[in-house]
Amino acid sequence: MISPRRVFAIVLRLYYLYRGSIARLMPIFIWVLVDMVLWGFMSRYLNRVGGPGYNFVPALLGAVLLWDFFARVMQGVTNAFFEDVWSRNFLNYFASPLSISEYLAGLVIASIATSAVALAVMLVVATAAFGLSFLSYGLALIPFLLVLFLFGICMGVVGSSVVLRLGPAAEWFVWPIPALVSPFVGVFYPLSTLPRWMRVIAAVLPPSYVFESTRAIAHDGRADFANLGIAAALAFAYMLAAGWVFTRVYREAVRTGLIARYSAESVS
């Protein structure tokens, strides 16, 4: 059974870390702010040269905003996990009554907090400076955010599993995950642009359905809710799979002594 108090302890530790650290607070919103400004001007320019009939602001700036939201959710999980890697805290944590479910729940809640801040900053800038109306997505906005949130959590948990399995140096594998996924999910272009093999991969990636829908809304004002339902089901299944993967990696780390070796050599 999950203990809310132990979950809160994980969140509280991260709150203490972020509260007193400009170096941790700034990355939450500085890069998304840069992206909003860059792609805001890009969308405005394309609207001017593209002529009337198609609005690039919801199609392009809105898509970048949603993609950055996904990346912030993922990094919210991995950064919280890395704090324990960097401070060699696993032995202290996992020799306590803390369970894996409680630990992951703490990371997810921390990610909700940091990604909500990033989303709020992006919305303010995109709306105030470039006239993006998030409400133009209508009810589709709910599945958009839900799908990207679930998939972000999933990628964050999988990335954390990779580092738990391969060691701190494997951080390198985690940072580029959003960049590696983005060509397949069509953040900036329709999936029909992709070759067949890439479209096959896109079909099993939940964000693909989100970005196809943002373009559909920009084009004819309608989202495909059936496809968004598939995306939500896929994202939920991936999230369960990610939790399973982390648990398996953790159990293997306990079997081999990797958890203990994160702090010290255990074969003494």
């Binding site: 302890a9 509280l12 020799a95 306590s96 306990v254 203990a260 003494s268």
Partner: protein, 246 residues
């Protein structure tokens, strides 16, 4: 309080712990001794639940660690030189986080009590990372006592302390074992300290318990002048004591 049965751990072709069994009773302080590579830390890691044994069972206060992990670990705590508390939080913040993880009741009062016990009040709002190694050891011990554990595991707790601080820590641990119903499993390479503190010692060599007994009388029973001499014999010539293995 602690019951270890036929515990075994193998890494590839290396047998780190070879079917050891022992118990630690309430109010008892037991020293787990042996040269580097004897299997002390492996044993402690298995008792802490961060290393899965290949065979055997561990029960803490009657709770089987494999089946009732949470209940068993709620009754346990530890301090080790290689597991300092995160340096980027203050002493009080760390104690609050770990107090919540261990389900400590009346946490604020309990934190004040351990801060006082380990003379950490003046350092309560300092980040752990800026403390001296001796101060960090005291913080680890404060965390280890926070939940008033039934089983306290200490892996070389005084290794980085000056003699005066080490004596105070030994007194605190003796007081813990005497006043509470808890027990202590202690590893150390300081044989004078072991002789001073422990009620009983277990000598490990190549993953097996080679000798067991009262640290004050054990050396004479094996024709040695003191515990250090016995330790050196265990480390260099374990076979000469092999027929006495328990």
């Amino acid at each position: 309080m602690l019951a270890v049965r036929e515990l075994r751990k193998v890494y590839g072709s290396t047998v780190a712990v070879d079917g050891i069994s022992f118990e630690v009773a309430a109010n008892e302080i037991v020293g787990l001794l042996g040269p580097n590579g004897a299997g002390k830390t492996t044993t402690i890691n298995m008792i802490l639940g961060v290393l899965a044994p290949d065979a055997g069972a561990i029960a803490i206060d009657g709770r089987d660690l494999a089946r009732e992990r949470r209940q068993a670990l709620e009754r346990t705590n530890f301090a080790a030189v290689y597991a300092p508390l995160p340096g980027n939080l203050t002493v009080r913040q760390n104690l609050r986080v770990f107090g919540m993880l261990y389900g400590v009741r009346q946490l604020a009062r309990r934190i004040d009590a351990v801060l006082e016990r380990f003379d950490l009040e003046a350092l309560a709002d300092a980040r752990c990372g800026v403390l001296s190694s001796g101060e960090q050891t005291r913080v680890s011990l404060a965390k280890a006592m926070l939940n008033e554990p039934r089983l306290l595991l200490l892996d070389e707790p005084t290794a980085s302390l000056d003699p005066a601080s080490a004596r105070e820590v030994r007194a605190s641990i003796r007081a813990f074992a005497g006043e509470s119903s808890g027990c202590v499993l202690w590893t150390s390479h300081n044989m004078y300290e072991v002789q001073d503190v422990c009620d009983r010692v277990l000598f490990l060599s190549h993953g097996r318990i080679l000798l067991e007994g009262d640290p004050k009388t054990l050396p004479a029973e094996h024709g040695k002048e003191n515990l250090e001499e016995l330790f050196i014999t265990v480390a260099r010539e374990p076979l000469s004591l092999g027929d006495m293995a328990v």
